[in-house]
Amino acid sequence: MISAHLPVLQVVVPLVAAPLIVLLRRGLVGYVLAMAASAFVAGSALSLLADVWHGGVISYAIGNWPPPWGIEYRIDAANAFVLALLGVIAVVVAAYARRSVAAEVPAEQHYLFYAMYCLCLAGLVGITVTGDAFNVFVFLEISSLSSYVLIAFGRDRRALLASYQYLILGTIGATFIVIGVGLLYMMTGTLNIADMAARIGAVEARRPVLAALAFLTVGISLKAALFPLHLWLPGAYAFAPSAVSAFLAATATKVSLYVLLRFYFTVFGATFVFDALPMGGVLIALSVAAMFVASATAVFQADFKKLLAYSSLGQIGYITLGIGFASKAGLTGGVVHLFNHAVTKGALFMLAGAVALRLGSVRLDRMDGLAKAMPLTCAGIVLGGLSLIGVPGTAGFVTKWYLVLAALEAGSWTLAFVPVASSLLAVAYVWRFVEVAYFRPPSAEVARLSEAPPGLLLPAGALLVAVVYFGIDPSLTVGAAARAADALLAGIR
């Protein structure tokens, strides 16, 4: 019985957990509830993924109001994949948060932190499962507002400013999205995404549809930090508490990219977006710019978390590059990179948090000889870095393979060299860490440090195991991504 309601329960459980935590006002209780909610989301997401693995679609009518009148939750291979990613990351980050939050957030605020964590998770899950365009906006704001708060928990006062800037830009992005949805609603008379997709072809006035596409593209790009609309991201990731950096880097932008996929392929249709309009070219150009400009900026950062943040911007470019090709191989590469980058960057931010815990800073110039004092942490960072570069045997390699293949299929040798050439920039910024941590004698400050506690290392290690496992045997991730690509491309009319 319960299993039929899983689509809605996985939103409701974290959503209810949040106020419960606030009412109980206990840090430990908050942690247990957050962990339980995350585990529930992970379990149900995986079971839903198994259900739609063979191409099925699960439609759930909220309150038994049949769609398109009621709100529909609709799960196909594409969002089931994103859901599974969300669930897994949520559990791992929750496990990490216990020790990390204890060190970075005042004890009397712990329960608030976990409440916000649950809210943010509920919002992200909601965006992913819903089949209603306006619902997307509502859940987007739930996740955004809670993530502003989560960022503001950072110890550094700059976290407040970063949170404020994210609030301004995030709200502008969300408002653009709601304008786009409003225009679509006016033209099609429905908010149900599937219904909208069926009706949009019959709309005669194309100009409002074009305007809707423009607003949605800009709005979602702001939330997904697509170059050049990324200005909020480096500060937000760098100054947020470690657990929050890891969680947001692994999930928030990924979910926004999923929304982009959903609107482009399901609502507007790939023919309209990529054939009638030059959006493919625009996306590819912006992605290439992101992969080079942002990655090059990463090389020159003094703060390790900022370095990772700029690296994220470059890696988001890999995903949007795959989307820009609008082909099976391109989408597979883009979607599988949602996962690959999430686990890689999640692990890296967690390890950066482990460094912050011991060293009290993540400035590279203070990490001299860190590998002597914290060998496991540093080895983990190097392994994650290898995945960012895309060395075979790590998850990042799989992505690169598909993106280059997609470029060749599109007949462009120039673009085929783009993903590989930009990974050289990744070599450069990973080398900066290697040089500092491995080739300098430990400073007196570093020599006193001890290895990070297992509470931080084990969750990060779990993600790194995934990085290696899915780099060597990617049949699961690539299989799921290929199914997602099929589901999205099926929207072509």
Partner: protein
Amino acid sequence: MSPETAILLAPALPLAGAVAIALSGRFPNLREATTLATAFALFAVVATLYPAVAAGGRPAVALFDLLPGLPLALAAEPLGLLFALVASGLWIVNSLYSIGYMRGNREHRQTRFYVCFALALAATMGVAFAANGLTLFFFYEMLTLSTFPLVTHHGTAEARRGGLVYLSVLLSTSIVFFLTALIATWHVAGTLDFTEGGILHGRLSNAALGGLLALYMFGIGKAALMPFHRWLPAAMVAPTPVSALLHAVAVVKAGVFSVVKVIVYVFGVRELSGLTSVDWLPVVAGFTIVAASIVALRSDNLKRRLAYSTVSQLAYVVLAAALLTPLSVVGAALHIAAHAFGKITLFFAAGAIYTAAHKTEVSELDGIGRRMPWTMTAFSVGALSMIGLPPTAGFVSKWFILGGAFASGQWVAFGVIVASTLLTAGYFLPIVYRAFFRPAPAPDGHAHGEAPATMVVALTATAALTILMFFFAELPLALARQLAGG
């Protein structure tokens, strides 16, 4: 043991060995015993494959998919087996030598050293037995990464600079060119399996084939084709056993091995031989041979001279493969082995000189032959093999390469080989002359004899192998001949 099991064990044994070495790190004797035992076991396992392959068998194993449709697959074919035999055999000798060297010089972090060494051997076995391009690439990159800590072993600023060049050249060529070439091949041919006769028949135009070949040849940076040779001299900062590993056992050999493998099994010798768009390759290889020889001639630092000698000798292999005749392909395969024996002897000797006499420059070697007769005799044998004089292994391989050039009437290549033989003699014979016939300088209060015994044993053994390969050339020839189509 079935051949299939042996193929699986080849990369698995050193991997397991690496774990065992790491675990036994606290007990140096146990650790070194583990290394040696693994090395012996590996050689024995690889040797069991010889009868099957020499009889024409091609045992193969496919494991899980690395990417859909592209399994991690291993197979034994003549060229790979030859390479694996050489590498695993030399690992034994090299381990003996390493023990002497690392203890003699009181090097730090010896456990990490042996672990990385074993990992590098595992990667080398993977390269040797790779049955498709992706598997090859996988182990190729693993080899780069596992040797990086070895190259930067000293951890000094100089090691860091050398390591950076090493890593950036090897990674960037392989990622930007090699990987792209593989994906393009996959896109065009729909397979990456190494197949006799190649997989690209008639699928690409003349110009496209030439371009793809360029991507492969420059992408396989380990073959050190100019202008991507800089990593090899830069890696000279490493301890000597590592240089031996790079130059003789694994790394550069993996490079030229991959080059030959790609030319023979991806393009197909016959496919390429009619094409005009691949004529640049012998030219680039010939230029590399001569230019590197000239640089070697002008270097006073012994290891640097050896490094450029390697660059030049590797280009021989590439040139031989690029001549696209059956004879020269046999020569290419033989030269991989011949150069390995000769060059490892030379490096061992250089390391023995450094350990016993703390000398690194050629100009300091006057009269050293009298103090270290074993070492310098072995050095002379290695030098003769580099030049290509009998009775050494280098003569055999050069004979086949020259034969190939002669048979196909490629007189430029013929001339390049002859000229470079003279150049090679020009930079090696003076060292031999200095060591034995110049008087030693006034005693500097630093009396020394030979290096530690294990080192001397090791370098004598490799010198003996260099000579033995001349007299018993049939063993490797039987394998190499199959490569050229019987």
